[in-house]
Each structure stands twice: as C-alpha cells, then as structure tokens.
Symmetry: C2
Subunit: 335 residues, 2 copies
C-alpha cells in the first residue's frame, strides 16, 4: 500500500482536520464531531440540504457543502455509512425553520441511517425532513418490475442533483419544491463508469479485487462493485462509445435533447485522458443530434486511487438549465 | 501502460481538442494551431502574459489562461518544449500594445525557444517582450556561486508567480511593473516534492525509472529527474516535516512571516492524502510562528499519473497578498 498517511485508523479524522483548516471560510462542524460537517454560512429561512456517505470519494460528498449547494454532510469512515446520530446532528444544525432535504446515494447503510435520522428529527425536534435517493448508475439498474425499488447505485451524477437542488433552495423555494427539483434532476441523469485498477482501503491495506494488467471493467461501482463486462483495455474512443451508447438508450436521450455532461476522473486517471474522452463525447452526441449545453471535466466523485473514468449525462429543461447555471461556491466547486 | 487514450501520437492534439470544447468561453487558439492556446477574452491595453511548456502537467501550464491570470500558452508534446514559432504566434496574438511578459520554468529547451521567440517578436513585429524564469524547486538548487545561473527547476510554485503577475497585469500595470511583481513572487516561493511511483509518457509506453514498492523519492522532479534522497516510505507527518524543513531553511522563512501554501497532488495521489499533509503543515508552521494566510490544495501541477505530492510556500508582503486575493477565472482556477 503506497499512501502518504499516518495511522490508517486516523485517516478520515486527519483528512477532515486538513479540510477545516484549508476551507474555514466555507465549512465548520457541529456537535463537536468533525464527522458532522456543515456550512459556515447558514442562510436564515432557507431549506437546508444534507447529504452523507462514506469517505474515499473526495470531493464527494462533503466537498459540495458551501454557498448555493449543500448545507451539511455527515462523513463516514472509508466506504462506510456515517451513523444516524451524526446525520441527526447535521440536520439540527442546518435547519433554519424551512425543513431539511436529504439527498444521498442508493446504498443500504445510508438509506437505513438516513431514515432513522429523519424519524429522530421529526420526533425529537419537530423538524420536517424529506428524502431523495439518487441512483444514476446504468450498470446496476438490473431487472425491476414497475414500482419495485431501484437497484441503481448512486454515483457521480449525484453532483447534478446537488447542484439543481442547491440552486432551488437558494431561490428560497419550499421544501416540497426543492424535493421536486431534486427528484427531477435525479430522474434525468444517467452514469456509466470504467475502471482500470483497483483501490485500497487504508485499514485493509491491500486491494479488495483485481483487474488484469491488460484489462478494464466496464460498469464497476465506486467501491469496486462488479461491473457488467470485463475485457481487454480498448481505445478511448471505443470505451467512450460503449459507455455513451448504454447511457443514451437507458433514459433514453433522443435527438434535440439538450444535456449537461460530467466527465469524471476516478482518482488516478490524469486530466489529459478525461479531455480525450470529452472530445469523443462531443463527436458522438453531435452525431445523435444531442446538444451539449456545458461540459464539466475533472475529479468530482472518486474511488480513492482507482484509475478510470465515468460519464454522466443530465437531460435539461429550462428549469434545470437555469439552476445548473446559478452561482455556487464550495471547497470543490465554484462558478 | 494502462491509459484511456487512442494513438499515443494523437494524445496531446486530442487532449487539446477536448479542452477547447469544454472551455470555449475562456480559451481559443491562434495561427490555426491547437498548440497556440490563447485567452478568448483579450483585454485591450493590458500587458499580455504568456507561458509554455511540455504537456503532461495539467492543469499546468495552459489551465491558467483566462481572466486575471495568463493570456496565452504554447503547448509542447508530453515533457517536450513547444517551438519558438508557436511561442511567437502566441505572442503576436496576445499583444495589445502594452508588451508581453514570458513566465516559464527553468528548463533548457524552454529557455532557448522563449529567447528565440522574444527576438522574433522584437525584430519582426516590434513587440516588447520581457522574461521571468521561475525556479522554485529546493531539491535542484545545487551549489552555485553568486551571479551564476540558477539550476533550480520550475515546479508547482510557478502557480503563485502566474497568480501575482496576472493580477498585476489586470490592474493595468506597465510591462516593467508586471515583471517586477513576477520576479518578486518567483524569488519568494520554494517547493519540495516527494514521488511514490513513476509515470509513463504515452509515446514511450513504459516508466522511465522505477521506485521500489516500499520506497519513496524526496525531491524528484516533475519529469522524473533524480531527487535528493531515496528511502523507505515514511508516515505523512515525517514526510511533511522533512520537506517543510528543507523549504523553511532554504529561503529562509522565519518567525512572523505570513505565507500562502500550495499542497499539490502529482496525479494519482487522492485529495484525502493531500489534506492529511495540509493538517501537518498547519501544525508545523504554527510551531515556527509562521502565519498561513491561505491554503491551496489539489492538483495544480502534475506529472501524468505519478503518485506523490509537493509543497510550495510563498512569503507574502502586502502587495503579493493583495494580488493573491484578486479574482481570477480560468479553466482550472477560479476565485
């Protein structure tokens, strides 16, 4: 394990301490617990938006707490859900009377704990909480009957849900309206990823799985969940075409749609490769007569030091487009 | 070689094409050559600032072209200098009558070509060009007599030089004044790096050097130039203390100094580790009674997919502090 760390058991705590030092203008913490991260700029009367999840995905999840996006994030150990108590503390700290919206990825531990935190907020503090579970991953969609709970994992596309909901809350929309916006964004985003190497959880000290030296895995999850196809490493254009093809047919996206596109590095993959993929996405979508409103390129949701990328596509309407364009200022996203 | 690329010989061209697609509001190119990158928002009467260098270091060098920082960047192949002709084309395109300042790293190929481009600009177009060569690396300082040319390589600390000079030009300072500011910033920044893994130039297809599985190299350059010490991988705190110790004594930085600090990921190292290092830097400098004005953390100057970090420290005075705080908007740096 080649990492610049101290004791593995101090990894998350020390990372958080560094974050609070570097970004004290934007973030602080509640309940005397560094895992209960909240905005340093609470806006009175605004719907509070909280997220949470395991560490190891920076800038997810906590990096989007700030002005115009999220208000709080409970932070778990690497690839572990934070506790319901931590979520409850964040909820109390960010509530300013207009209620709190939870937005988080579709993982069992998070669902269980966020549901419990919402009950605690209701019973103990009379805070109204609504929840939106984001599941944008195409690879994990699985077969499901209408009305069944989705098996789709939440991956990088949750960035779009945060951005739209955050801008809606910033316009002082009601809790129900912010939830409607978050649900619309979540329903209109699809993501596919490809992994080239595994990653190492510090406490474990070795990779949890392997990918052969000349292979890739299409559709792998951000904790190393199995993808839909292992195969020989192919060219950037072929990888891009395969992933985009699956994204386009899944929603589906069709001619004359307008979209925002997120090209996301999973950790070790250089920006150069992300831009090579951006170039091909632009060609591919132009051939389909799908118009790109804006590209976002960089590390938005990682899997520690995994090499690979993901592509997320958000179908826009006038409302989502305006919300995507609104200003935001967080440690990891400024516009 | 595990990379998401097409033909290695198309690597830089396709990366640049992706960049122009994603950031068309901020950058474009001159002379019908994608390697001649310039701002899309030229300001009349302002000193133009150009840089240049090899690819493989994103966001260096080109990512800082935009509003409030650089105006142009000639882009070479991976780890190769761009040509004097490309630098000359950028110079012509960004000149708006107030002259052009070149700011670039201390590498022989770049020095030779930028000097030639400056002569071409003078003789052929009557454009006044001045140059500042940045060399912030402590590890490559070497022994040199007073007045001798420095052997220090330019590394991540050039970000501070770009930021200060760009803000000075934006205040419509004269060419001589912008050069003075750039020289002051360059003289007051020091950097040390540590590498954990090598990187692979796409055309070469294999690492140019190796670092044993349990070792690190302190002081390695961003092209894999030899460092000052190979040794067993140590804890984040010990690595940080060793690098900061060398930085502090080199300038030197002393009690009551105020500084900006850049914690830079070299490519594959996760943000988590960068923040663990940030935490220790804060402790270390507090012990020395050196005040940190602001931390910058993230990938600012990389070596393709090398794992490792660098630490850069800039000694501030009132002028540099004001210039560091000025707004900027480029593809990779916004404040």
């Amino acid at each position: 394990m080649k990492k610049i760390i101290n004791k593995p058991e101090d990894y998350v705590k020390e990372m958080l301490e560094g974050l609070y030092i570097a970004h004290s203008d934007l973030i602080t913490y509640a309940a005397n617990d560094v895992h209960c991260l909240i905005t340093a700029n609470k806006v009175s009367g605004k719907v509070g938006i909280a997220t949470g999840g395991g560490s190891g995905h920076l800038p997810l999840f906590l990096g989007y707490v700030g002005k115009g996006m999220l208000d709080g994030c409970s932070v778990g150990d690497v690839f572990q859900s934070p506790s319901a108590e931590q979520m409850f503390e964040v909820t109390k700290a960010i509530n300013s009377g207009a209620g709190v919206l939870y937005i988080y990825g579709n993982y069992n531990g998070d669902i269980f704990n966020f549901d419990m935190a919402a009950e605690m907020a209701d019973f103990e503090e009379n805070i109204k909480v609504l929840s939106v579970v984001a599941g944008d991953d195409v690879a994990s969609a699985g077969p499901s009957a209408p009305g069944e709970k989705s098996t789709r994992r939440g991956v990088a596309g949750i960035f779009f849900v945060y951005k739209c909901a955050g801008a809606a809350a910033n316009k002082m929309m009601s809790l129900e309206e912010v939830k409607r916006v978050a649900e619309k964004a979540a329903a209109n985003v699809r993501t596919m990823g490809v992994a080239l190497t595994p990653c190492i959880v510090p406490r474990v000290g070795k990779p949890g799985f392997s990918i052969a030296e000349d292979e890739m895995e299409i559709g792998m999850g951000i904790h190393g969940e199995p993808g839909i196809r292992k195969g020989k490493l192919e060219s950037a254009d072929r990888i891009t075409d395969e992933m985009l093809g699956k994204i386009i047919t899944d929603l589906p996206f069709t001619a004359n749609d307008e979209v925002d596109v997120l090209v996301n590095g999973l950790g070790a993959t250089p920006l150069d490769e992300q831009y090579i993929v951006t170039r091909r996405i632009n060609e591919y979508l132009a051939e389909k007569n799908i118009k790109v409103h804006r590209f976002y390129v960089g590390e938005y949701a990682t899997a520690i030091e995994m090499a690979g990328i993901s592509i997320s596509v958000l179908k826009l309407d006038d409302e989502l487009k305006e919300l995507m364009e609104a200003p935001a200022c967080t440690p990891f996203f400024k516009q």
